[in-house]
Symmetry: C2
Subunit: 638 residues, 2 copies
């Protein structure tokens, strides 16, 4: 059994340290605050937070407690994602007390496992005869996927096999059920998890089963999700899914025929991740081509500037090309995490930096915005504009919750953020036969046994990175960030031209502690949306490096929709105001504001323009001071 | 028994002729095409139109046919509103064939009347024991209101008492049930109808009952609509109304305490109409003050430039002040009709022209837009922008149907348009003790026995009106239109200064065929929304006189969101293109368009501006040529 197979070539987390002014705060927050907080929530010990009942569900399923199942049909996955986050934390910093807790959680999961390997507290407690009878809505395979992901992470972190063996028994049972029988999950997730299980065990049949789930999807008549409704045990779980829309679950046509991203956003990107995994492992060019096309469709036509995806709350879904409303947006935190994992596989598959550019966009903006500075409140939905008056009174915007919430009835996002932040190392570097890839700029070190690298940087605020490289002759691939292009580059004090291949500066040396100095373009920029999108004409956003900025009421007063960025915005950089992390770079610029017109609603008298100053903060920090208006796109006159 | 009581002082329709280049087309369309078409729909004889079953419901209730009730719980009201439209048509032009049809319909309604006077096909056929058990959802009093309105109109038109007697028996029965018992309608309508019945019969108790319904509303604990759920016969009709929101039906607080317009838009304005009726009849200053405040709240904060109201489809409702999204808008045709009737009463109550200005805005834009040039397709929802790609794929906009529909499952709007157009005379003139008011400019004549007037005009396209006045000494009140101000005025060739009182030019003469010539300001104007609304900053609409204009894809190609009106738009007026009525004045202006940026979604490169020409058509004519984009508000740089 090997730790990392060939397919996905991240470094083991153990081999990566992060010692970074920006990420240090975030990782410590998740380690010290978020993970303990979420354990308390899963145990229903946080007052005024939405009830979880997750641990109790397992205790009931394990026969340790009497009671009824409570929560979403996929409530189990909250514990699995929490365990995955905890595993990454243990992987990068041992913590015997946390490990005692996680061991006990693993043991609890084991106790809830049925004799044949099956684990799912909803079905075990509530519908013991209903197993696999409603794949469309039941989320059993989705939960199994998160169990497997957590077990693989836990094995990698601790070397303990218990959880992995639980996962293997479950996976083997699932394989026995679905190997030669029709059916595939209503919410994709297990496919990418089976690819992970294959990589850690070397057992090809897990990858084969993942491939079957993908290739069966959306094929055959009648549709499997309609056919299964004839089963005698079939019970409706989500009444709103009864009116069947196959595109919602990307099962309207087989995945290999899909060219246009559609349906539930998280389902879509989780599926694409598995498709990229399959292409990685078997080199299937057709599968890879489909993935490239879907990535292009998302990033060129259906992605917000913040890396958020999903333009509508109805079905938490994609809508259509260039439909990117700042107000109606869903932009689920989990969907941007799904976009990150899809891009991670695509980057591994292609060695192309544009996938890492999208990881950076989603991570530094939407994913980080999903968590408060306190670590105890979370966004599920990440709008690009918010006006408390509209949010309170427009039911079309009822999905947008400001401030962040302590927990949710459907609480997939908070634990997903935790596991993503604690697994950050997976996104920073990639080791490959042709060399070492630096995908994110983050202070710390990495080594793969042969090669080693140390990075010192204040990215994404500072414009400099110093990288010390050792380990003999190999190629170093330094991503030239789409949003913070490398302005200058020196190796051992020698200035070099910035030349890129697939978005990377490629340096091959006999590395022996050589020092590379990079300067990034961190000048604030006004960013325009393509006029093909009708949403942001006449408006612009401001970015500085990878960070999208926004205006908040706390700094600018209300009615942000009246603010106009001037044609030539001259941004001054200022330090953080109270309530924001001290390293924060804020921006300010002279601006204008539409005013006047008294109490008349419509008039032929043009509004007046008054002079004002607009102050901007990084979008991921919004809504950390008080409840107020926020806007990413402001009026702008070219 | 008198025809018109003191309160509401419209001229009888018989005394008004319309011989107008603009309205002639519309009235003839409704008379010749819409009324016969709708009769066919009510009889389910139009292929591919949504099933009505309205007549069959009555036949079943009357015992003339076997079968089940089909349709909305208020399906009966479609026949009543159709009868009201037909009555106005008969009032202004006898038509023995139509009258045979309407007589037969009246007879059918009479046959469906129960021994105690009750009429409602839903309850008679489907829930005979359920009468009055679910006032919140059951719409019995709503349907009764439309029956009464139709009966009053039919009596006025034909002099035949049968229908009026049916209505009186029903009203007397309702009075016996509710005079001394709690309860009030879930959908306001009967209150304003009872005021009409009072005016035509002189029976005060109808007005008293209307007052009771209004004054009981929203008072007492627990809420009546919660309390009635304890009745043994209570059955849920609208599952979506079970989660109770009292503000939806304006029953959260008593009407006299309401200062802010909220909830379902049609319910709101129908209630305000009845409140104004009560203030008219009893001179209650508090009630009048509340109505004035609610009118101000609507027109200064919650009304679209087209006179549309209701910013959200969820609950077909108002949202909050200054929330006027062009895309999410509901803008139900019925709601703008309700705004017209509310304003008609307020105009009678106050003699203030601003209420007639709002009638004009709603009528010439939203209400007329509700019907196709063919007279056989209708809008329920009236958006200010439409993009077929978004409409097809964004479920948030699923309520917007483009093209107009042949009929609807919930088809309140088409018959409402028909009765409004055929009753147009009610809005043109008002006779009062202090004189004769001209509220709309429309070619034709009017006389009230003493006074008479003849108008010749090409309004709203032409800028001139010639008015010939006779009948001795009295005051003539000529509205100075908010959106087409009077530029010059002469009486008998003598130029006068334009001076107004309450928005009217008041002329007192010994009228003896004197000729008044008015010139209106019909220059196209760029119109801005108050910056207090965040929706239209950086954008503007174009109006010419009372008509709001829009850009359509048919004239401008796609991607209308990229069009920019120049700072100083110089509009040329052009004749109609194919497919629009020949009298139509179109507008064109040089303009710009955002272009460029290739296939990149976000870029620091500003979009380019290309030169273009923008062509505009009156909003009420949109979607008569093909399915395409439409925008009222275009980008505009001041």
């Amino acid at each position: 059994m090997v730790r990392i197979m060939n397919g996905i070539k991240s470094l083991p987390l153990k081999n990566i340290t992060v010692d970074d002014p920006f990420w240090g705060r975030v990782i410590n927050l998740v380690r010290e605050k978020v993970i303990p907080y979420q354990w308390e929530v899963l145990n229903d010990r946080i007052p005024d937070a939405a009830k979880s009942h997750c641990i109790k569900n397992f205790e009931i399923a394990a026969g340790r407690r009497n009671g009824e199942f409570y929560g979403m049909v996929f409530q189990d996955s909250d514990l699995y994602k929490w365990l995955e986050a905890a595993a990454y934390s243990l992987d990068t910093r041992p913590d015997p007390e946390l490990e005692k807790l996680t061991d006990s959680a693993v043991e609890l999961i084991g106790s809830a496992q049925q004799a044949d390997g099956y684990i799912n507290t909803y079905y075990t407690v509530k519908e013991p005869d209903g197993r696999w009878s409603n794949l469309q809505q039941g989320h059993e395979l989705y939960c199994a996927g998160h169990l497997i992901e957590a077990a693989v992470a836990y094995y990698n972190a601790t070397g303990k096999r218990d959880f992995l063996d639980i996962a293997i028994r479950f996976a083997d049972y699932i394989d026995s059920v679905f190997r030669n029988t029709e059916g595939y999950p209503g919410h994709q997730e297990i496919e990418l998890a089976l690819a992970k299980l294959y990589r850690v065990t070397g057992e090809k049949r897990y990858l084969t089963l993942a491939g079957k789930f993908i290739r069966r999807r959306g094929s055959g008549e009648p549709h499997y999700f309609i056919k299964e409704r004839q089963k005698p045990q079939y019970r409706t779980i989500w009444p709103q899914l009864e009116e069947f829309d196959a595109a919602y679950s990307q099962s309207h046509i087989p995945p290999l025929e899909q060219r246009h991203t559609t349906g539930h956003a998280v389902r879509a990107v989780y599926m694409y991740t598995a498709m990229a995994d399959l292409a990685l492992e078997d080199g299937n060019a057709q599968m890879r081509g489909v993935c490239e096309g879907l990535f292009d469709n998302i990033t060129k036509k259906q992605m917000y500037i913040t890396g958020a995806i999903g333009s509508t709350s109805i079905g938490e879904a994609f809508t259509t090309d260039y439909d990117l409303p700042s107000d109606l947006i869903y932009g689920e935190t989990c969907a941007s995490i799904g976009l990150m994992i899809f891009c991670q596989r695509m980057n591994a598959l292609s060695g192309d930096a544009r996938y890492a550019d999208t990881i950076e966009r989603a991570l530094y903006n939407t994913v980080l915005a999903g968590m408060s500075l306190s670590g105890t409140e979370f966004f599920y939905v990440n709008p690009l504009e918010a006006d408390p008056a509209r949010l309170a009174h427009s039911p079309d915007l009822a999905h947008i919750k400001n401030p962040r919430q302590k927990w949710f009835d459907c609480s997939c996002c908070p634990t997903n953020i935790a596991r993503t932040v604690m697994g950050l190392g997976e996104y920073i570097y990639r080791t490959a036969p042709d060399g070492l890839y630096v995908n994110l700029y983050c202070s710390g070190t990495a080594e793969d046994g042969l090669r080693s690298i140390a990075v010192k940087t204040g990215y994404p605020y500072a414009d400099k990175a110093v990288i010390t490289v050792s380990g003999g002759r190999y190629k170093l691939f330094l991503r030239n960030p789409e949003n913070a292009p490398i302005l200058s580059l020196s190796v051992g004090g020698l200035e070099l031209d910035v030349q890129t291949q697939n978005g990377y500066v490629v340096l091959e040396r006999d590395w022996n502690g050589n020092e590379i100095v990079l300067r990034f373009d961190m000048r604030p920029k006004i960013i325009y949306t393509s006029p093909k999108s009708q949403n942001n004409n006449g408006k612009a956003a401001v970015m500085r490096g990878p960070l999208v900025y926004c205006a908040e009421q706390a700094d600018n007063g209300e009615n942000l929709g009246a603010v106009i960025l001037p044609s030539e915005a001259a941004f001054a950089e200022t330090g953080a105001v109270d309530g924001l992390p001290p390293e924060t770079v804020m921006l300010k610029s002279p601006a204008h504001r539409y005013t006047g017109q008294g109490d008349v609603l419509y008039t032929a008298a043009p509004p007046k323009l008054s002079d004002t100053e607009v102050k901007l903060v990084p979008y991921f920090l919004w809504a950390n001071r008080n409840v107020g208006e926020m806007r990413v796109f402001l009026h702008h006159r070219i």
